[in-house]
Amino acid sequence: MKRKFIFYSFFILVFFLLQTTLLHYAAILGVIPNILIVFVIITGLLRGNTEGGTVGFFAGLVVDLVFGSVLGFYALLGLYLGIAAGSVSRRLFRENLLVAVFFTFVYSVLYESMIYIINNIMSGSMQFWFAMTDIILPESIYNSIIAILMFPLLIRAERWFEGKESNARKY
Protein backbone atom coordinates (compact mmCIF):
# COMPACT_ATOMS: atom_id res chain seq x y z
CA MET A 1 0.00 0.00 0.00
CA LYS A 2 2.70 2.41 1.06
CA ARG A 3 4.91 1.32 -1.81
CA LYS A 4 2.04 1.85 -4.22
CA PHE A 5 1.38 5.32 -2.83
CA ILE A 6 5.00 6.32 -3.36
CA PHE A 7 5.05 4.75 -6.82
CA TYR A 8 1.94 6.55 -8.03
CA SER A 9 2.87 9.90 -6.48
CA PHE A 10 6.28 9.68 -8.08
CA PHE A 11 4.89 8.92 -11.53
CA ILE A 12 2.17 11.56 -11.32
CA LEU A 13 4.67 14.26 -10.34
CA VAL A 14 7.27 13.23 -12.91
CA PHE A 15 4.74 13.04 -15.75
CA PHE A 16 3.21 16.34 -14.68
CA LEU A 17 6.60 18.07 -14.65
CA LEU A 18 7.50 16.64 -18.05
CA GLN A 19 4.10 17.61 -19.39
CA THR A 20 4.41 21.24 -18.34
CA THR A 21 8.06 21.76 -19.26
CA LEU A 22 9.96 19.51 -21.65
CA LEU A 23 7.05 18.12 -23.64
CA HIS A 24 6.48 21.45 -25.32
CA TYR A 25 9.63 20.81 -27.29
CA ALA A 26 8.04 17.62 -28.64
CA ALA A 27 5.12 19.32 -30.35
CA ILE A 28 4.19 17.88 -33.74
CA LEU A 29 2.03 20.15 -35.91
CA GLY A 30 1.55 22.34 -32.87
CA VAL A 31 0.03 19.54 -30.81
CA ILE A 32 1.60 17.96 -27.75
CA PRO A 33 0.61 14.60 -26.24
CA ASN A 34 -0.91 14.40 -22.78
CA ILE A 35 1.19 11.80 -20.97
CA LEU A 36 -0.68 12.33 -17.70
CA ILE A 37 -3.94 11.02 -19.15
CA VAL A 38 -2.10 8.19 -20.91
CA PHE A 39 -0.79 7.21 -17.50
CA VAL A 40 -4.27 7.36 -15.97
CA ILE A 41 -5.80 5.31 -18.81
CA ILE A 42 -3.12 2.60 -18.66
CA THR A 43 -3.31 2.43 -14.87
CA GLY A 44 -7.07 2.00 -15.16
CA LEU A 45 -6.69 -0.73 -17.77
CA LEU A 46 -4.09 -2.62 -15.77
CA ARG A 47 -5.33 -2.15 -12.23
CA GLY A 48 -9.08 -1.73 -12.46
CA ASN A 49 -11.41 1.16 -11.76
CA THR A 50 -10.58 1.82 -8.10
CA GLU A 51 -6.91 2.44 -8.70
CA GLY A 52 -7.58 4.06 -12.07
CA GLY A 53 -10.06 6.46 -10.51
CA THR A 54 -7.78 7.29 -7.59
CA VAL A 55 -4.79 7.95 -9.81
CA GLY A 56 -6.95 9.99 -12.21
CA PHE A 57 -8.29 12.04 -9.34
CA PHE A 58 -4.87 12.91 -7.96
CA ALA A 59 -3.32 13.54 -11.37
CA GLY A 60 -6.17 15.94 -12.09
CA LEU A 61 -5.80 17.55 -8.68
CA VAL A 62 -2.14 18.34 -9.39
CA VAL A 63 -3.14 20.06 -12.65
CA ASP A 64 -5.87 21.96 -10.79
CA LEU A 65 -3.56 23.10 -8.04
CA VAL A 66 -0.84 24.33 -10.36
CA PHE A 67 -2.72 25.53 -13.43
CA GLY A 68 -6.46 25.26 -13.10
CA SER A 69 -8.67 28.28 -12.90
CA VAL A 70 -11.26 26.31 -10.94
CA LEU A 71 -10.19 23.84 -8.27
CA GLY A 72 -11.57 20.35 -8.85
CA PHE A 73 -12.35 20.46 -12.58
CA TYR A 74 -9.50 18.28 -13.80
CA ALA A 75 -9.69 16.16 -10.64
CA LEU A 76 -13.28 15.25 -11.47
CA LEU A 77 -12.55 14.56 -15.14
CA GLY A 78 -9.51 12.50 -14.13
CA LEU A 79 -11.60 10.49 -11.69
CA TYR A 80 -14.15 9.66 -14.40
CA LEU A 81 -11.42 8.90 -16.92
CA GLY A 82 -9.71 6.45 -14.56
CA ILE A 83 -12.97 4.74 -13.67
CA ALA A 84 -14.00 4.51 -17.32
CA ALA A 85 -10.65 3.02 -18.29
CA GLY A 86 -10.74 0.64 -15.33
CA SER A 87 -14.22 -0.57 -16.13
CA VAL A 88 -13.26 -2.22 -19.39
CA SER A 89 -10.21 -3.94 -17.95
CA ARG A 90 -11.99 -7.03 -16.69
CA ARG A 91 -13.79 -7.71 -19.91
CA LEU A 92 -10.79 -7.59 -22.19
CA PHE A 93 -7.40 -9.16 -22.09
CA ARG A 94 -5.51 -6.83 -19.79
CA GLU A 95 -1.92 -7.13 -20.82
CA ASN A 96 -2.50 -6.74 -24.50
CA LEU A 97 -0.66 -3.84 -26.07
CA LEU A 98 -3.14 -3.39 -28.91
CA VAL A 99 -6.05 -3.19 -26.50
CA ALA A 100 -4.18 -0.56 -24.49
CA VAL A 101 -3.33 1.51 -27.56
CA PHE A 102 -6.91 1.29 -28.83
CA PHE A 103 -8.40 2.40 -25.52
CA THR A 104 -5.83 5.16 -25.10
CA PHE A 105 -7.01 6.53 -28.43
CA VAL A 106 -10.72 6.20 -27.64
CA TYR A 107 -10.49 7.65 -24.15
CA SER A 108 -8.21 10.48 -25.29
CA VAL A 109 -10.80 11.50 -27.86
CA LEU A 110 -13.59 11.33 -25.27
CA TYR A 111 -11.61 13.17 -22.58
CA GLU A 112 -10.45 16.03 -24.81
CA SER A 113 -13.92 16.36 -26.36
CA MET A 114 -15.36 16.66 -22.85
CA ILE A 115 -12.90 19.44 -22.02
CA TYR A 116 -13.72 21.24 -25.25
CA ILE A 117 -17.46 20.94 -24.77
CA ILE A 118 -17.43 22.03 -21.13
CA ASN A 119 -15.21 25.02 -21.84
CA ASN A 120 -17.20 26.16 -24.85
CA ILE A 121 -20.72 25.36 -23.81
CA MET A 122 -21.30 28.97 -22.76
CA SER A 123 -19.55 30.73 -25.61
CA GLY A 124 -21.53 28.87 -28.28
CA SER A 125 -18.39 28.39 -30.31
CA MET A 126 -18.97 26.60 -33.60
CA GLN A 127 -15.46 25.33 -34.10
CA PHE A 128 -15.93 21.79 -32.85
CA TRP A 129 -15.03 20.25 -36.18
CA PHE A 130 -11.79 22.20 -36.31
CA ALA A 131 -11.01 21.24 -32.71
CA MET A 132 -11.64 17.61 -33.61
CA THR A 133 -9.50 17.43 -36.73
CA ASP A 134 -6.70 19.73 -35.66
CA ILE A 135 -6.33 19.15 -31.94
CA ILE A 136 -8.27 16.19 -30.54
CA LEU A 137 -7.50 13.56 -33.20
CA PRO A 138 -3.79 14.40 -33.64
CA GLU A 139 -3.35 14.51 -29.87
CA SER A 140 -5.10 11.17 -29.44
CA ILE A 141 -2.90 9.55 -32.08
CA TYR A 142 0.14 11.01 -30.38
CA ASN A 143 -1.15 9.70 -27.02
CA SER A 144 -1.56 6.22 -28.51
CA ILE A 145 2.07 6.28 -29.62
CA ILE A 146 3.11 7.34 -26.12
CA ALA A 147 1.01 4.43 -24.80
CA ILE A 148 3.12 1.98 -26.82
CA LEU A 149 6.17 3.22 -24.92
CA MET A 150 4.54 3.56 -21.51
CA PHE A 151 2.61 0.30 -21.43
CA PRO A 152 5.57 -2.13 -21.12
CA LEU A 153 7.09 0.15 -18.48
CA LEU A 154 3.97 0.07 -16.34
CA ILE A 155 3.48 -3.68 -16.81
CA ARG A 156 7.00 -4.21 -15.52
CA ALA A 157 6.27 -1.94 -12.58
CA GLU A 158 3.10 -3.89 -11.88
CA ARG A 159 4.91 -7.22 -11.93
CA TRP A 160 7.46 -5.79 -9.56
CA PHE A 161 4.68 -4.84 -7.18
CA GLU A 162 2.97 -8.16 -7.27
CA GLY A 163 6.31 -9.83 -6.62
CA LYS A 164 6.82 -7.63 -3.59
CA GLU A 165 3.27 -8.20 -2.36
CA SER A 166 3.47 -11.98 -2.58
CA ASN A 167 6.83 -11.82 -0.82
CA ALA A 168 5.25 -9.78 1.90
CA ARG A 169 2.51 -12.33 2.33
CA LYS A 170 4.98 -15.13 2.79
CA TYR A 171 6.47 -13.69 5.92
Partner: protein, 287 residues
Protein backbone atom coordinates in the same frame (compact mmCIF):
# COMPACT_ATOMS: atom_id res chain seq x y z
CA UNK B 1 -28.19 0.78 4.55
CA UNK B 2 -24.53 0.53 5.42
CA UNK B 3 -23.84 -1.30 2.20
CA UNK B 4 -24.98 1.72 0.22
CA UNK B 5 -22.27 3.84 1.83
CA UNK B 6 -19.65 1.26 1.02
CA UNK B 7 -20.54 0.89 -2.65
CA UNK B 8 -18.24 2.39 -5.26
CA UNK B 9 -20.99 4.32 -6.95
CA UNK B 10 -21.93 6.00 -3.73
CA UNK B 11 -18.32 7.05 -3.13
CA UNK B 12 -17.98 8.33 -6.69
CA UNK B 13 -21.18 10.38 -6.52
CA UNK B 14 -20.15 11.69 -3.13
CA UNK B 15 -16.75 12.83 -4.44
CA UNK B 16 -18.49 14.35 -7.48
CA UNK B 17 -20.77 16.45 -5.31
CA UNK B 18 -17.90 17.54 -3.05
CA UNK B 19 -15.82 18.53 -6.08
CA UNK B 20 -18.70 20.45 -7.64
CA UNK B 21 -19.05 22.42 -4.41
CA UNK B 22 -15.30 23.06 -4.30
CA UNK B 23 -15.39 24.22 -7.93
CA UNK B 24 -18.19 26.61 -7.12
CA UNK B 25 -16.34 28.04 -4.15
CA UNK B 26 -12.95 28.30 -5.86
CA UNK B 27 -14.43 29.97 -8.95
CA UNK B 28 -14.53 33.07 -6.78
CA UNK B 29 -11.01 34.44 -7.13
CA UNK B 30 -10.91 35.97 -3.68
CA UNK B 31 -11.84 32.68 -2.05
CA UNK B 32 -9.51 31.44 0.67
CA UNK B 33 -9.58 28.02 -0.97
CA UNK B 34 -7.25 29.22 -3.70
CA UNK B 35 -4.55 29.44 -1.10
CA UNK B 36 -4.31 25.66 -1.48
CA UNK B 37 -2.54 26.20 -4.80
CA UNK B 38 0.57 27.13 -2.84
CA UNK B 39 0.93 23.56 -1.62
CA UNK B 40 2.21 22.43 -4.99
CA UNK B 41 3.16 25.62 -6.78
CA UNK B 42 5.75 26.71 -4.25
CA UNK B 43 7.79 23.49 -4.03
CA UNK B 44 7.46 22.85 -7.77
CA UNK B 45 8.83 26.21 -8.79
CA UNK B 46 12.57 25.33 -8.68
CA UNK B 47 12.00 21.94 -10.32
CA UNK B 48 9.96 23.41 -13.15
CA UNK B 49 12.52 26.16 -13.59
CA UNK B 50 15.23 23.52 -13.84
CA UNK B 51 13.34 21.36 -16.36
CA UNK B 52 12.50 24.32 -18.57
CA UNK B 53 16.07 25.60 -18.51
CA UNK B 54 17.35 22.10 -19.27
CA UNK B 55 14.88 21.80 -22.16
CA UNK B 56 16.16 25.04 -23.64
CA UNK B 57 19.74 23.84 -23.27
CA UNK B 58 18.96 20.58 -25.04
CA UNK B 59 17.11 22.46 -27.77
CA UNK B 60 20.09 24.75 -28.22
CA UNK B 61 22.48 21.82 -28.38
CA UNK B 62 20.38 20.09 -31.03
CA UNK B 63 20.26 23.14 -33.24
CA UNK B 64 23.99 23.56 -32.80
CA UNK B 65 24.66 20.04 -34.07
CA UNK B 66 22.30 20.54 -36.97
CA UNK B 67 24.27 23.60 -37.98
CA UNK B 68 27.50 21.67 -37.93
CA UNK B 69 26.03 18.89 -40.03
CA UNK B 70 25.10 21.32 -42.76
CA UNK B 71 28.57 22.76 -42.71
CA UNK B 72 30.22 19.32 -42.92
CA UNK B 73 29.20 19.17 -46.57
CA UNK B 74 31.69 21.92 -47.26
CA UNK B 75 35.38 21.08 -47.04
CA UNK B 76 36.99 20.31 -43.69
CA UNK B 77 38.87 23.49 -43.23
CA UNK B 78 35.88 25.59 -44.06
CA UNK B 79 33.82 23.52 -41.69
CA UNK B 80 35.97 24.30 -38.68
CA UNK B 81 36.21 27.92 -39.68
CA UNK B 82 32.47 28.26 -40.12
CA UNK B 83 31.76 26.49 -36.85
CA UNK B 84 34.11 28.84 -35.05
CA UNK B 85 32.63 31.89 -36.67
CA UNK B 86 29.12 30.72 -36.07
CA UNK B 87 29.72 30.23 -32.41
CA UNK B 88 31.23 33.66 -32.12
CA UNK B 89 28.42 35.12 -34.14
CA UNK B 90 25.81 33.50 -31.95
CA UNK B 91 27.44 34.79 -28.81
CA UNK B 92 27.57 38.26 -30.28
CA UNK B 93 23.99 38.20 -31.45
CA UNK B 94 22.92 37.06 -27.99
CA UNK B 95 24.80 40.03 -26.59
CA UNK B 96 23.20 42.29 -29.15
CA UNK B 97 19.71 41.09 -28.31
CA UNK B 98 20.42 41.43 -24.59
CA UNK B 99 21.70 44.93 -25.18
CA UNK B 100 18.57 45.83 -27.13
CA UNK B 101 16.37 44.28 -24.48
CA UNK B 102 18.00 46.18 -21.66
CA UNK B 103 17.70 49.43 -23.58
CA UNK B 104 14.06 48.83 -24.24
CA UNK B 105 13.52 47.85 -20.64
CA UNK B 106 14.87 51.26 -19.71
CA UNK B 107 12.49 52.97 -22.13
CA UNK B 108 9.69 50.96 -20.68
CA UNK B 109 10.38 52.35 -17.29
CA UNK B 110 9.95 55.87 -18.61
CA UNK B 111 6.70 55.14 -20.42
CA UNK B 112 4.83 53.54 -17.56
CA UNK B 113 5.66 55.78 -14.64
CA UNK B 114 2.84 54.52 -12.45
CA UNK B 115 4.07 50.98 -12.72
CA UNK B 116 6.93 49.10 -11.20
CA UNK B 117 8.47 46.67 -13.65
CA UNK B 118 9.24 43.19 -12.45
CA UNK B 119 11.29 40.85 -14.60
CA UNK B 120 10.18 37.22 -14.63
CA UNK B 121 11.14 33.95 -16.31
CA UNK B 122 8.70 31.49 -17.80
CA UNK B 123 9.09 28.22 -15.93
CA UNK B 124 6.23 26.04 -17.17
CA UNK B 125 3.44 25.89 -19.72
CA UNK B 126 -0.15 24.79 -19.32
CA UNK B 127 -0.53 21.04 -19.92
CA UNK B 128 -2.75 20.15 -22.84
CA UNK B 129 -3.52 21.86 -26.08
CA UNK B 130 -6.45 24.06 -25.18
CA UNK B 131 -5.15 27.03 -23.28
CA UNK B 132 -2.27 29.40 -23.61
CA UNK B 133 -1.40 29.97 -20.01
CA UNK B 134 2.11 29.88 -18.62
CA UNK B 135 3.73 30.07 -15.24
CA UNK B 136 6.29 32.68 -14.25
CA UNK B 137 8.65 32.66 -11.31
CA UNK B 138 7.38 35.73 -9.48
CA UNK B 139 4.36 35.72 -7.24
CA UNK B 140 2.47 37.54 -4.56
CA UNK B 141 5.64 37.65 -2.47
CA UNK B 142 7.01 40.15 -5.01
CA UNK B 143 3.66 41.93 -5.15
CA UNK B 144 2.23 40.42 -8.35
CA UNK B 145 -1.55 40.66 -8.32
CA UNK B 146 -4.31 39.20 -10.45
CA UNK B 147 -4.92 41.27 -13.61
CA UNK B 148 -1.43 42.78 -13.66
CA UNK B 149 -0.45 43.37 -17.31
CA UNK B 150 2.51 41.39 -18.67
CA UNK B 151 4.69 42.68 -21.52
CA UNK B 152 7.84 41.69 -23.37
CA UNK B 153 11.08 43.61 -23.20
CA UNK B 154 10.18 45.19 -26.55
CA UNK B 155 6.96 46.63 -25.07
CA UNK B 156 4.68 44.13 -26.76
CA UNK B 157 1.66 42.99 -24.80
CA UNK B 158 1.87 39.37 -23.64
CA UNK B 159 -1.24 39.09 -21.49
CA UNK B 160 -2.30 39.38 -17.91
CA UNK B 161 -1.83 37.59 -14.62
CA UNK B 162 -4.84 35.36 -13.95
CA UNK B 163 -3.78 34.05 -10.59
CA UNK B 164 -0.77 34.37 -8.35
CA UNK B 165 0.53 32.07 -5.65
CA UNK B 166 3.17 32.91 -3.12
CA UNK B 167 6.16 32.49 -5.44
CA UNK B 168 4.66 31.91 -8.90
CA UNK B 169 1.91 33.36 -11.10
CA UNK B 170 -0.14 32.14 -14.04
CA UNK B 171 -0.21 34.41 -17.08
CA UNK B 172 -2.96 34.20 -19.69
CA UNK B 173 -1.62 35.24 -23.08
CA UNK B 174 -3.58 37.39 -25.51
CA UNK B 175 -3.72 34.46 -27.98
CA UNK B 176 -5.61 32.36 -25.42
CA UNK B 177 -9.17 31.72 -26.54
CA UNK B 178 -10.59 33.17 -23.36
CA UNK B 179 -8.64 36.39 -23.61
CA UNK B 180 -10.20 39.61 -24.88
CA UNK B 181 -8.40 42.94 -24.87
CA UNK B 182 -9.82 46.31 -25.78
CA UNK B 183 -7.61 47.62 -28.57
CA UNK B 184 -7.17 50.98 -30.25
CA UNK B 185 -6.43 51.21 -33.96
CA UNK B 186 -3.62 53.70 -33.79
CA UNK B 187 -4.03 56.02 -36.75
CA UNK B 188 -5.94 59.10 -37.77
CA UNK B 189 -9.62 58.27 -37.48
CA UNK B 190 -8.86 55.15 -35.51
CA UNK B 191 -11.34 53.44 -33.27
CA UNK B 192 -11.83 50.83 -30.58
CA UNK B 193 -11.99 47.14 -31.33
CA UNK B 194 -11.68 43.89 -29.44
CA UNK B 195 -8.58 41.75 -29.80
CA UNK B 196 -9.20 38.16 -28.84
CA UNK B 197 -7.57 34.78 -29.06
CA UNK B 198 -8.81 32.29 -31.60
CA UNK B 199 -8.43 28.52 -31.61
CA UNK B 200 -7.42 28.34 -35.26
CA UNK B 201 -4.97 31.22 -35.09
CA UNK B 202 -3.20 30.57 -31.82
CA UNK B 203 -1.10 27.74 -33.28
CA UNK B 204 0.53 30.38 -35.47
CA UNK B 205 0.81 32.82 -32.59
CA UNK B 206 -1.77 35.18 -34.08
CA UNK B 207 -5.00 36.66 -32.78
CA UNK B 208 -8.17 38.13 -34.16
CA UNK B 209 -9.66 41.62 -33.94
CA UNK B 210 -13.40 42.07 -34.27
CA UNK B 211 -16.08 44.64 -33.45
CA UNK B 212 -14.21 47.02 -35.74
CA UNK B 213 -16.27 50.24 -36.05
CA UNK B 214 -17.86 50.73 -39.47
CA UNK B 215 -16.29 54.11 -40.09
CA UNK B 216 -12.75 52.91 -39.46
CA UNK B 217 -10.84 51.85 -42.53
CA UNK B 218 -8.58 49.08 -41.26
CA UNK B 219 -5.64 48.24 -43.48
CA UNK B 220 -2.77 45.82 -43.43
CA UNK B 221 0.08 47.32 -41.44
CA UNK B 222 -2.06 49.24 -38.98
CA UNK B 223 -0.68 49.26 -35.45
CA UNK B 224 -2.94 48.16 -32.62
CA UNK B 225 -2.40 49.37 -29.07
CA UNK B 226 -4.29 48.83 -25.86
CA UNK B 227 -7.05 51.37 -25.44
CA UNK B 228 -7.07 51.55 -21.67
CA UNK B 229 -10.78 50.75 -21.61
CA UNK B 230 -12.38 47.58 -20.36
CA UNK B 231 -12.01 47.57 -16.62
CA UNK B 232 -8.68 49.33 -16.77
CA UNK B 233 -6.60 46.17 -16.63
CA UNK B 234 -4.20 47.38 -19.29
CA UNK B 235 -2.84 50.91 -19.27
CA UNK B 236 -3.33 52.86 -22.49
CA UNK B 237 -0.75 52.62 -25.22
CA UNK B 238 0.86 49.19 -24.87
CA UNK B 239 1.67 47.81 -28.30
CA UNK B 240 -0.45 44.76 -29.11
CA UNK B 241 0.60 44.12 -32.69
CA UNK B 242 0.10 44.77 -36.34
CA UNK B 243 -2.75 44.00 -38.73
CA UNK B 244 -1.60 41.42 -41.28
CA UNK B 245 -4.89 40.61 -42.93
CA UNK B 246 -8.42 42.00 -43.08
CA UNK B 247 -11.11 39.43 -43.76
CA UNK B 248 -14.54 40.42 -44.94
CA UNK B 249 -17.25 37.88 -44.46
CA UNK B 250 -20.82 38.27 -45.69
CA UNK B 251 -21.28 41.88 -44.74
CA UNK B 252 -19.22 44.88 -43.73
CA UNK B 253 -20.42 44.42 -40.18
CA UNK B 254 -18.86 41.01 -39.98
CA UNK B 255 -15.34 41.89 -40.98
CA UNK B 256 -12.44 41.06 -38.76
CA UNK B 257 -8.72 41.52 -38.86
CA UNK B 258 -5.87 39.16 -38.09
CA UNK B 259 -3.26 40.59 -35.78
CA UNK B 260 0.34 39.53 -35.50
CA UNK B 261 1.20 40.28 -31.89
CA UNK B 262 4.38 42.16 -31.13
CA UNK B 263 5.27 39.39 -28.70
CA UNK B 264 6.63 36.22 -30.30
CA UNK B 265 4.87 33.56 -28.24
CA UNK B 266 6.95 30.71 -29.60
CA UNK B 267 10.16 32.20 -28.36
CA UNK B 268 9.12 33.89 -25.16
CA UNK B 269 11.48 33.28 -22.23
CA UNK B 270 11.55 36.46 -20.20
CA UNK B 271 8.59 38.71 -19.53
CA UNK B 272 7.94 41.84 -17.49
CA UNK B 273 5.05 42.24 -15.10
CA UNK B 274 3.72 45.75 -14.67
CA UNK B 275 2.88 46.22 -11.03
CA UNK B 276 0.59 49.16 -10.40
CA UNK B 277 1.95 51.39 -7.65
CA UNK B 278 -1.31 53.22 -7.05
CA UNK B 279 -3.68 50.31 -6.76
CA UNK B 280 -1.81 49.14 -3.67
CA UNK B 281 -3.80 51.52 -1.52
CA UNK B 282 -7.01 52.01 -3.49
CA UNK B 283 -7.34 48.40 -4.59
CA UNK B 284 -7.19 46.93 -1.13
CA UNK B 285 -9.46 49.63 0.27
CA UNK B 286 -12.00 48.91 -2.45
CA UNK B 287 -12.30 45.31 -1.39
Amino acid sequence: MLRIFRSKWFIVSFITIILLVIMGVSANKSSKLNWLNNILSVPMKPVQGFFTAAGRKVGDTFSFFKDIEAVRKENDQLKTQVAGLEKENRELSVLKVKNEELRQALNLKEQFGDYTILGANIIAVDPGNWFNVFKIDTGSKEGVKTDAPVVTSARGLVGRVVSSDFTTSNVQTIIDEESAVSGWIAKAGGGHAIVRGDMQLKEKGLCKMDYIPLEVDVEVGDIIETSGLGGGIYPKGILIGEVIEVRKTNSELDRYAIIKPAADFKRLEEVYVLKNNQSDETGSAGK
